[in-house]
């Protein structure tokens, strides 16, 4: 397989030392993979993504990035920190925290400016990203005054601008209208085609099959309870029900996914 980017061994994390958020996570993520984390609310998805982005650090166990252990010390090295930030981008679950500049445009170019990317290059990226996400008419607006979906689009744009090899997205399609969600999935697939690693967390089982080649299910105990291809995981309706992921039944018809709500129980018999 390709090179391993992230290697997690028995990673545990708790907030303020008393609210456990992850218990013993073992994963390895290879270059060019499409990874999805699914799980109930509070199962630790966001926490895991923040760990991968080097924003918080494991209490126990180790996280390696290209073989180098991530901890607070290595981020105090300006050089390493710059390389890491250029390589890994995160779209936060809460767009409000991600957007802090006075205008949308400044927010979008914030990342590449901090990372010292050339002005010309920034311009061309800006053009590409904003035309895909259709953001041109929002440039001079204040991010705080946008709708939730618009905020999310701006947040995604501001991370895409970094053009990182690893793209981490915390529930990228939550709150988006179907067409925009579609655009974003297409965009992610396109990025993946060009060799990028895509790591997402989601509750939206409809998109799981497309955006992942490996799915990890995080359980109520805040550990990984299942791993597999999206087909395997989505077929296991017991597993999904146990993890609050369906109140609807999922099954296959002639190789196509169908998702039915409980009302169609007779359909199953």
């Amino acid at each position: 397989m390709n090179k391993v980017i992230f290697e997690l061994r028995n990673v545990c994390f708790s907030y303020h030392g008393k609210f456990p958020a992850l218990r013993g996570i073992d994963i390895s993520i290879g270059q060019g993979q499409k990874i999805t984390f699914i799980g109930a609310n509070g199962s630790g998805k966001s926490t895991l993504l923040h760990l991968l982005d080097g924003l918080i650090f494991a209490d126990k166990g180790s996280i390696k990035f290209f073989g180098e252990e991530l901890n607070e010390r290595c981020f105090s090295d300006a050089n390493f920190s710059r390389i890491f930030r250029r390589a890994v981008g995160l779209v936060f679950q809460n767009s409000d925290v991600q957007l802090f500049c006075p205008t949308v445009k400044e927010d979008i170019v914030f990342g590449p400016l901090q990372l010292g990317i050339e002005r010309k290059e920034i311009e061309s990226r800006l053009e590409r990203v904003t035309s895909i996400l259709n953001l041109n008419n929002l440039f001079e607006r204040s991010p705080h005054q946008l709708s939730i979906g618009e905020k999310r689009k701006v947040a995604i744009a501001s991370t895409l601008m970094i053009n990182s090899d690893v793209l981490i997205l915390d529930e990228p399609t939550a709150g988006l209208d179907p067409l925009t969600a579609r655009h974003i999935i297409d965009l992610l697939l396109q990025e993946n085609q060009s060799g990028k690693t895509i790591i997402t967390s989601t509750h939206d089982l409809h998109i799981v099959e497309e955006i992942s080649d490996t799915v990890y299910v995080l359980g109520q105990e805040k550990n990984i309870v299942a791993t597999g291809s999206p087909e395997e995981i989505l077929r296991d309706s017991r597993l999904l029900e146990d993890n609050n992921l369906v109140h609807i039944h999922t099954h296959r018809h002639k190789d196509k996914m169908h998702i039915h709500s409980h009302q169609h129980l007779e359909h199953h018999q």
Binding site: D53, L55, R85, E106, F110, Q114, L115
Partner: protein, 278 residues
């Protein structure tokens, strides 16, 4: 009952939006106008000149003149006059209550008697010198506060922080300032949202007593939540490569217009200094 409650409600909502509007009115910094078109460094220098001229002057006329210049600058920078006046005059009552008003009486400023007041059997004498001192004080406060406010609303917050760095203010200080700024914003945001959330849960006919309880209960959680949010925003900045020194979109460029402006303010400042010596 509903009348009183409405008043409280409106005043909370009004105070919040006023605070937000007045501290974070970045809208003026992005407008087209004279001050916005100046290089931030030059702008800061010239504003410091104006403010020190105000602090040096002993003449009411000169400080009024400077105040007029400030208003004119605001006008040419497309700042809404009503907003600007509201925002600057709010400081006056605070200052005058503690400093200017006591100063007019003979107890603090002896001098020629202007007129005498009888209050609760106390004989209060207002002196000419006292009145002069008080008026001078108020005009100086209003003029310097106006300049400071004008500078802050016509300059982008990141740009201002960058200028501070350029002028050699230590990084730790500038960073703390930036954090405070964001912190206050987030705090206000949280207050506002909580207020809306209470309203949506309890309904508009919130009983006064009950409202007080809820607010008291919430104050501590408010600090907590805004602290948490602040931390999250900081993480989001780190995630995109922030290292404590914000890189700006437009690098500063001094144009000939800036030099002309700097030249005129310096000459003006020197003239004022000269006038003051007499």
């Amino acid at each position: 009952m509903s009348k009183g409650n409405n008043f409280i409600e409106y005043s909370i909502a009004g105070a919040l939006s006023f605070l937000k509007e007045s501290i974070f009115a970045d809208e003026y910094a992005t407008k087209e106008g004279f001050l916005q078109s100046l290089d931030p460094r030059i702008k800061v220098i010239t504003f410091l000149l104006f403010i020190s001229a105000i602090l040096f002057t002993k003449s009411i006329t000169i400080s009024l003149c400077l105040y007029a210049i400030c208003l004119a600058l605001a006008y040419f920078s497309n700042v809404n006059m009503w907003f600007f006046l509201k925002r600057t005059w709010i400081f006056i009552p605070i200052f005058s209550l503690f400093i200017a008003i006591p100063a007019i009486f003979n107890i603090f400023t002896p001098g020629e008697v202007l007129f005498t007041l009888k209050l609760l059997g106390l004989k209060l004498i207002i002196t000419q010198q006292g009145l002069f001192t008080a008026v001078l004080f108020v005009t100086r406060v209003i003029a310097s506060v106006s300049f400071a406010v004008l500078l802050s609303i016509t300059t982008k917050h990141f740009a201002l922080l960058k200028v501070l760095r350029i002028f050699g203010i230590p990084q730790v200080f500038v960073m703390t300032l930036g954090m405070c700024y964001r912190y206050i914003y987030l705090f206000l945001e949280v207050v506002e949202n909580t207020y809306l959330a209470i309203k949506s849960r309890v309904g508009t006919r919130l009983h006064y007593k009950k409202g007080q309880q809820i607010i008291a209960w919430n104050i501590s959680s408010l600090w907590h939540r805004s602290y948490y949010l602040n931390e999250a925003v900081y993480n989001a900045m780190l995630s995109r490569g922030y290292t404590g020194e914000p890189a700006l979109l437009n690098d500063f460029r001094v144009k000939s217009k800036d030099w002309v402006w700097l030249f005129f303010t310096t000459v003006f400042f020197v003239i004022l200094l000269y006038l003051n010596r007499k």
